[in-house]
């Protein structure tokens, strides 16, 4: 659609949990950058965490996709695309995505990447230790 501005990312926050209320949301453990395996053996282990997004977009909808990228190989693990609906172009859309039981194969450095409409936008570093 001509004349529309590009989307604006206002927030991309990793956290341990999100609680939703009628008028707000609470982010617990916001800014998490290190995950320690609590399982035996330490790897592979599954872990659940959240990504909180604020995106303003004049289009009625956009496709959000998260990817976990292993820094040691550049290999990405993509999630399915999620349709983000922007009901009002003048309001920012709030989105909480649970990355459920992601299996970390090895310790090391990972990046949680935000892809929007097939484009890489941002990433967050996530260290994973045994």
């Amino acid at each position: 659609m001509p004349g529309l501005r590009e989307p604006i990312i206002k927030a991309f926050v990793l956290c341990e949990d999100v609680r939703q209320y009628s008028d707000k949301a609470d982010l617990f453990g916001a800014g998490v950058g290190l995950i320690r395996s609590g399982s035996t053996p330490a790897f592979p282990f599954k872990h659940t965490f959240w990504a909180y997004l604020l995106i303003a977009d004049e289009k009625p909808e956009g496709q959000v996709q998260l990817a976990l990228m292993r820094a040691d190989s550049g290999r990405r693990y993509f999630s399915r695309e999620i349709t983000m609906r922007h009901a009002d172009p003048l309001r920012t859309t709030q989105f909480a995505i649970r990355i459920f039981n992601f299996e970390f194969p090895e310790p090391g450095m990972y990046f949680v990447e935000l892809w929007y409409d097939g484009q890489w936008l941002l990433d967050h570093l996530l260290m994973v230790e045994g």
Binding site: D72, S73, G74, I97, R98, I99, F100, M109
Partner: protein, 218 residues
């Protein structure tokens, strides 16, 4: 991204979803090939990842640098045994008899290896000693040389190529006609690394570099 966000007013209701990781390997492969990450525009980002990640090679070289004697370093290098007594992944598929044969041949050449003052000299001796060992190839020659070199404190001055590193080098448009690359022939951002790190980098990121190249071309 547009910078001006003053015109948006208020925040809509929270939408909650689960991100389901795609479990179809073919689809993951396709996405890895076609999605253009920041490293496509700037492959130097991969060097940042490499520098910051826990590189197994660092641990491997430290392990050999701390061996008590040249003979023990040669023995573990040939048998491809790490600090926990496990076999290094590069040599997983080699039969034990191949490793044993290599160990015996190298131990009998310990005096020649002792006298080496450059990695290239060391690599030449290892290659000539082991080329008669059936099942041993260029990656094994290089890995063993690097391990023994680490004990002696001598490292390559150029980047040695084998199957994995060749693939990575080709993806960067580098000539792979010779069995090695001069550091000067590499892009500036890759020259930040030591030659043995470049070898490791090209091997580790070969798939990423290859898919980035094909995605850029299409």
């Amino acid at each position: 991204m547009a910078a001006n966000c003053n015109e948006t007013r208020g925040i809509g209701p929270l939408q909650v979803f689960d991100a389901v990781i795609i479990d179809d390997p073919a689809e993951q492969e396709r996405l890895n090939r076609t999605r253009l990450g920041p490293e496509v525009r700037n492959p130097a980002i991969l060097v940042r990842y490499y520098r910051d990640s826990k590189r197994p090679i660092r641990k491997e070289l430290e392990w050999f640098a701390n061996h008590p004697s040249l003979e023990s370093a040669i023995g573990d290098a040939a048998m491809s045994i790490d600090g926990e007594g496990k076999r290094f992944s590069h040599q997983h598929r080699l039969k034990r008899a191949v490793l044993e044969s290599a160990r015996k041949k190298l131990i009998s050449s310990a005096a020649r290896l002792e006298k080496c003052t450059t990695f290239e000299e060391l690599h030449g001796i290892v290659e000539s000693v082991l080329k008669s060992v059936e099942g041993a190839g260029e990656l094994f020659f290089y890995d063993v040389s690097l391990r023994i070199g680490s004990y002696k404190g001598i490292f390559p001055l150029k980047v040695f190529l084998h199957a994995g590193t060749r693939k990575g080098a080709k993806a960067l448009g580098l000539s792979t006609q010779l069995s090695w690359l001069d550091m000067i022939s590499l892009p500036d951002w890759l020259q930040e690394l030591q030659p043995y790190e470049v070898e490791d980098f090209l091997c580790l990121y070969k798939d990423r570099l290859t898919s980035s190249k094909s995605a850029s071309a299409s």
